[in-house]
């Protein structure tokens, strides 16, 4: 097709830096975990780790169902779902950036006005996505083989990641075709990838552990998720199980279906068109829109951020509903299995209350989401400054007021995300006669300081390093979460990394005597960051 090759080269060139970062992130995480666990865990401790995993539905949900106690199998179960989500988000954002994003920015119109074919931009995006996937997954396989893991298993895992990534690429393109703005398309596609992770987690959490607790047979919901298909290939399974490429065949089959849908939609789509059309709106602004108490344009900011905040709240409500339905099920499955409950009770006080631990694990997700919701609202200020600063700042708007309006809306979005999970899960449980309101509120409350920290991180980035607004906050959010999650696998020499992660300092209300010192520190850090950000934002030049 005319121009495809040029567009492909342009797309790859544009993304070379972000591709390098993703390679470092994905292959680097795998290498770090293989190296760390290989050094820190011998077979006996791996057996203990897998037994702990198999016995704890919360861990099954967060990590996956184990297929053995070999080094590869332990690594795979603790890392694969995360790697798949990373590759998935990499591809959805890639797809939206190179389709709807270009159209929003007007670049697509410029390109389509030149001698390139109608299908060339889509073809170039698909090809560039395939190239990037090949690079990331190839690097992961190479690293894996180089570190001494089984070659077949490494290639199977890379193929599973590539398959998930390809589906995510197509989902991103579909979202871009269906929704009128790149912001909405990005959000919708990311929610789909998140759902893949969660559905796989539900299937694993409901799984059937083997008698010796070295493996877990996942339940049917895993078959609803591409990440589940990848996991079911068990690339590093120990006998009696063996690696099996068959589940991976579902990935190309689904890709064909989604790909056909993309082509069908694209053949009917005009430049900039979307399945969900923009509706007309009100001819006059409502009374709230222009409210600006004390020079803080609250009405405008709330209106602009409402959609994104609502999405977080609704997703949290859905997770709350799942938690409410699932927690009693996993707890009773455990109670029915005397071998399991014996192990769980040896894990100490924290392990006693399986249902509480399960709810707490899901709440950790919600804490991450609430932090993301809050930080997103703060980071949005930079976009507003660049795009509309010249209009807004020329009105009677105070800089600190503008910042405060974003922080307030972000805080509300974060707290509402926590609250909606708590409310839905609590209501669902108490409807089943299981009153856990106190516990749920305490768990949600323990995450409030974390939300405050990331709200402040967002503000500080906008004020001090606005050029990094697109990535720094998200790297700090996801990177520090992963550091908190994975550092324990690396053994004692790496404990300091865990200590750096704010996720490490979230209080555990399930403990006999909860320690809230960390929470106080987080709150103090958030307050200091916010004050510094406000000072700086009111003093620096506005870039308009």
């Amino acid at each position: 097709m005319d121009g495809t090759r040029l567009l492909l080269a342009a797309a790859l060139r544009r993304d070379r830096l972000s591709l390098a970062l993703w390679v470092i992130g994905v292959a680097g995480l795998w290498a770090a975990v293989v190296g760390g666990v290989g050094a820190a865990f011998d077979e006996e401790s791996r057996r203990g780790l897998v037994a702990l995993l198999a016995a704890q539905p919360a861990l099954l949900l967060l990590r996956g169902a184990p297929a053995g106690i070999g080094l590869g199998a332990v690594m795979f179960v603790s890392t694969f779902a995360y790697l798949a989500v990373m590759v998935g988000l990499m591809m959805t954002s890639f797809a939206v950036r190179h389709s709807r994003g270009d159209e929003d920015a007007g670049r697509a119109e410029l390109v389509r006005g030149t001698a390139v074919g109608r299908w060339a931009p889509l073809a170039a995006t698909l090809l560039a996505g395939a190239v990037e996937l090949a690079v990331v997954c190839g690097a992961t396989a190479a690293v894996s083989i180089a570190l001494g893991l089984d070659a077949t298993g490494s290639l199977l895992m890379a193929a599973a990641l590539a398959g998930v990534g390809a589906l995510a690429l197509l989902v991103g393109l579909l979202a871009a075709q269906a929704l009128p703005t790149s912001r909405a398309a990005n959000g919708a596609a990311a929610i789909v990838v998140g759902a893949w992770f969660l559905v796989r987690g539900i299937g694993d959490a409901l799984g059937e552990p083997s008698a010796d607790l070295t493996r877990v047979e996942a339940a049917w919901p895993v078959w609803l998720s591409p990440i589940g298909w990848g996991a079911q290939a068990h690339p590093f399974a120990d006998p009696p199980w063996s690696p099996d490429a068959t589940p991976l065949l579902l990935l190309p089959a689904a890709a064909l279906v989604l790909g056909a849908l993309v082509v069908l939609l694209e053949s009917r789509r005009e430049l900039g068109g979307s399945l969900l059309p923009e509706r007309g709106g009100r001819a006059a602004g409502g009374a709230i829109l222009g409210t600006a108490p004390g020079g803080a344009p609250l009405g405008l900011t709330a209106r602009l951020l409402f959609g994104a905040g609502l999405a977080w709240v609704l997703v949290a409500a859905a997770v709350g509903a799942i938690a409410g339905r699932l927690a009693p099920v996993v707890a009773s499955a455990l109670a029915d299995n005397p071998g399991l409950s014996r192990i769980v009770s040896t894990l100490g006080a924290e392990g006693d209350d399986t249902e509480g631990v399960f709810l707490s694990a899901l709440a950790a997700f919600i804490g991450l989401m609430a932090s993301a919701a809050a930080m997103q609202a703060a980071l949005r200020l930079r976009h507003e400054e660049l795009a509309h600063g010249e209009l807004v700042l020329a009105a009677a708007v105070r800089r600190t007021g503008w910042l405060a309006s974003h922080l307030l809306v972000g805080a509300v979005a974060g707290l509402a995300t926590l609250a909606s999970f708590t409310a839905v899960a609590g209501a669902s449980l108490s409807a089943a006669g299981d009153d856990r309101w106190g516990q749920l509120v305490a768990i949600a409350g323990a995450h409030v300081p974390l939300v405050a920290v990331y709200l402040a991180v967002g503000a500080a980035i906008v004020a001090f390093v606005p050029a990094a607004v697109a990535w720094l906050g998200w790297v700090l959010l996801v990177g520090l979460m992963l550091a908190g999650d994975f550092a324990p696998l690396f053994g004692e020499p790496w404990e300091w990394i865990e200590v750096l992660s704010p996720f490490h300092w979230i209080a555990n209300p399930l403990a006999a005597e909860p320690d809230w010192t960390g929470s106080r520190w987080l709150a103090a850090i958030a307050a200091a960051l916010l004050a510094a950000a406000a000072l700086r934002f009111s003093r620096r030049d506005a870039v308009v």
Partner: protein, 364 residues
């Protein structure tokens, strides 16, 4: 920095609405403003002229407190543009050079948001009249607006504000000629009300039609400022005729093309030149007063002439005679550059302005 005198010029206290002295703004090593002295008096419609990249937008952003000056002084309504930004903005309405609206808001919502944020709304009848006059559909979302329509939203929001000062940064870019006349009518309306207008532009015909006073900015400095009549008086008129070569008559910058002769005449020499032309029975005589274009090109073209001279000196050529040759003169002497450029009414640009950050882009 000395404290500018407090007080309102609109409230009757005399004093310029905008005053800058030696205003400087550096971005790293680039001097965007290099000692800008600008005075805008109460009630003026003040044209702010300069090519792209001359510093117009930077000056406006400093006056609006978005950028902090690195040197010199500035005051708006006698207040400090950075410290008293909000107090100043309550009395100001602006239209930025590059209007990006919120894609999810309709045009009508954007207008109301902006006027409310400014805190000085005109009566609803004014809003309706403006929407009608500018022919805007206020129900459409901004994403679907063309460049001209986005500009209209900002203009309506500005004129629907009862401001004391209107700061407009190339406000008519993207407007069709019909809308330009609506725009001019609105400027006259607010000027009649006693408001002050600072109109940055590089569309000279617009400035000539609207402005009482003009300041020309080049490389971050005001190079010429005064009323149009004053400025014109200092400049040569252009004479063109068919007839003998102008020998023994004070016509300078001569270009001869067969029988056609063009040249310029100093204001004091006009009677003598007309007498000479009458005696020689010259045909098709035109005598044009200097347009703003020529004033402007004189300053803008100077740089070109200096550059040319420098490069020729570097080549070891004798540039003195070169400048007299008609073809070179046509390039070097701005007075001769009236043809195609004058007819478009738009100046050549000195360089691209910072890349526009644009969001919505649908054509209608």
């Amino acid at each position: 920095m000395t404290v500018a005198p407090r007080g309102s010029s609109v409230g009757g206290v005399p004093g310029p609405v905008i005053e800058t002295q030696g205003l400087e703004k550096r971005f790293g090593r680039v001097r965007a403003l290099d000692g800008l002295d600008l005075v805008v008096e109460q009630g003026q419609v003040h044209g702010f002229l300069g090519p792209n990249g001359a510093g117009k937008s930077t000056a406006i952003r400093v006056l609006l407190g978005m950028l902090r000056a690195t040197g010199g002084e500035a005051s708006v309504f006698g207040m400090h543009p950075w410290r008293d930004a909000v107090a100043i903005h309550r009395r100001v309405a602006t239209v930025p050079g590059d209007v990006t609206l919120w894609p999810g808001l309709t045009g009508g919502e954007a207008i109301d948001t902006l006027t409310r944020l400014r805190g000085h709304r005109a009566p609803a009848s004014d809003r309706a009249r403006l929407i009608e006059a500018f022919d805007l559909d206020p129900r459409r979302r901004a994403k679907a607006y063309s460049k001209g329509n986005r500009q209209k939203v900002a203009l309506i929001a500005a004129f629907a504000s009862e401001a004391d000062l209107y700061i407009l940064d190339e406000p008519t870019s993207g407007l069709d000629p019909l809308m330009e006349s609506v725009f001019q009518a609105e400027i006259r309306r607010v000027a009649q009300r006693g408001a002050t207008v600072l109109l940055s532009s590089h569309i000279l015909s617009e400035v000539e039609r609207l402005c009482d006073v003009v300041s020309i900015i080049r490389d971050g400095r005001i190079v010429e400022s005064g009323s149009l009549d004053q400025l014109r008086h200092l400049r040569h008129a252009v004479v063109a005729y068919r007839g003998p070569a102008p020998i023994g008559v004070p016509i300078v910058d001569v270009a001869v093309d067969g029988e056609r002769v063009r040249g310029s005449v100093a204001p004091d020499d006009v009677p003598a030149v007309l007498r000479w032309l009458g005696e020689r029975e010259a045909q098709a005589v035109t005598l044009t007063p200097p347009s703003l274009e020529e004033l402007f090109l004189r300053h803008y073209g100077d740089a070109e002439r200096v550059d040319r001279a420098r490069s020729e000196r570097a080549k070891g050529e004798r540039h003195g005679e070169e400048l007299l040759a008609p073809d070179v003169e046509a390039l070097a002497e701005p007075e001769e550059l009236t043809g195609p450029i004058a007819s478009t009414g738009v100046l050549p640009s000195a360089g691209p302005e910072p890349a526009a950050r644009r969001r919505g882009r649908h054509a209608e």
